[in-house]
Amino acid sequence: MIGAAIDTAWYAYAVVGPVDAEIRAALPAPLELVGSAELAVVAGEVPLAEFGEDVLRERLNDREWLEEKARAHDEVIRRLLPLTTVVPLRFGSIHRDRIAVEAFLETRHDALAAALERVRGRVEVGVKIWLDRDQRPARGRQEAAATGRAYLEQRKRERERAAMAATSLEEHLRDVHGRLLASAEDGVVNRPQSSELTGRDAEMVLNAAYLVPGDGGEFFAEVDRLRSERPELVFEATGPWAAYNFVDLGEGV
């Protein structure tokens, strides 16, 4: 431990608490708990050859590397989630050594303890709503317009229909978000993911996350109710996740 080689650093995954032997046993080999039984950081040694500041900049552009490491990060957090309260840290939280992790915990103790309390006994559920491409407005082009005037009128009607459909979609989404919020303690609406990112034809029109009590069972049931009430919308619920969207401490520095 003492005089650790200079070519490694400590990667911090999450803040957890309380911790016990079961949690210690659940951690994959190189990971350790740093801190107390009430509040600890899950961290482990990583090679600077991979996570050093300069290398990392390049590695973040390596899709395969990024996918592997991002999934590994999330996997550590997933494993802990059923066992204790977890405040996820952001990808790439690197400290020089174990002592630096201890110092971090000490300096930020109160804020981290507060973040832990905020998410205790709760999980995050993601809800996305998709719209099939062919469900979107502006149909009716099949009736060919006989005259220029008829064509212009047809275009006008199409625009009006599209505007109405957009308004009604927005109302639907606001309504759905309201219903889901009522079953949750908090919720955030994130930017929808682009089709390039999702690789799907359908368009994502809502990308939200909710902080819900327990294991999220009640909330999933509410999503199911909404799904059957609104067959025109395609719902996707994911999780339970650690409360990634609900642990913001500002810039945290």
């Binding site: 650093a9 911090a12 803040v15 600077l48 050093g52 500041e53 990392l56 973040l60 552009n61 899709r63 990024l66 996918e67 991002a70 999934r71 990060h73 999330d74 059923p82 405040v87 996820p88 840290l89 952001r90 990808f91 790439g92 690197i94 400290h95 020089r96 630096a100 971090f104 930020r108 981290l112 973040a115 996305k128 998709w130 994130n190 929808p192 993911q193 682009s194 390039e196 990112l197 368009e203 994502m204 999220g216 999933f220 999503v223 199911d224 067959p231 395609v234 719902f235 994911t238 999780g239 339970p240 996740w241 990634y244 969207n245 642990v247 913001d248 401490l249 810039e251 945290g252 520095v253």
Partner: protein, 110 residues
């Protein structure tokens, strides 16, 4: 995959998501974009969340395609280093590139 049943249901403890792997976009969005930013010794600078988001979306979407189009600004741009950050200029550049690459769904629909 059925278009009506995209639900990923919770599984028993220890096997979240009922054994279905989460979609990469969902993982990246959470792991890179959210979570607490902490002050570490050698921490990379991930404070500019919006920039990172755009950067990663471009990356995950189609880095190869973008490269073919000559969009290779991420190679050696100063964004992730602590040196020489010119956020406003860079952000403007990113917006333009993003629009050029047709990657911003919201803008595209207008």
């Amino acid at each position: 995959m059925s278009s009506r049943d995209l639900s990923t249901r919770p599984g028993p403890p220890g096997s979240p998501n009922g054994g279905h792997p989460a979609q990469l976009a969902d993982v990246l969005e959470r792991v890179l974009d959210k979570g607490i930013v902490i002050a570490g010794d050698i921490q990379i600078n991930l404070l500019d969340i919006e920039l990172l988001t755009i950067r990663l979306r471009l990356l995950v979407a189609s880095a190869d395609k973008a490269r073919e189009m000559g969009i290779d600004w991420w190679d050696g741009d100063p964004f992730l280093s602590r040196r020489g950050r010119e956020d406003h200029a860079l952000e403007g550049r990113l917006r333009k590139l993003e629009a050029a690459a047709g990657l911003d769904g919201a803008e595209e629909e207008r």
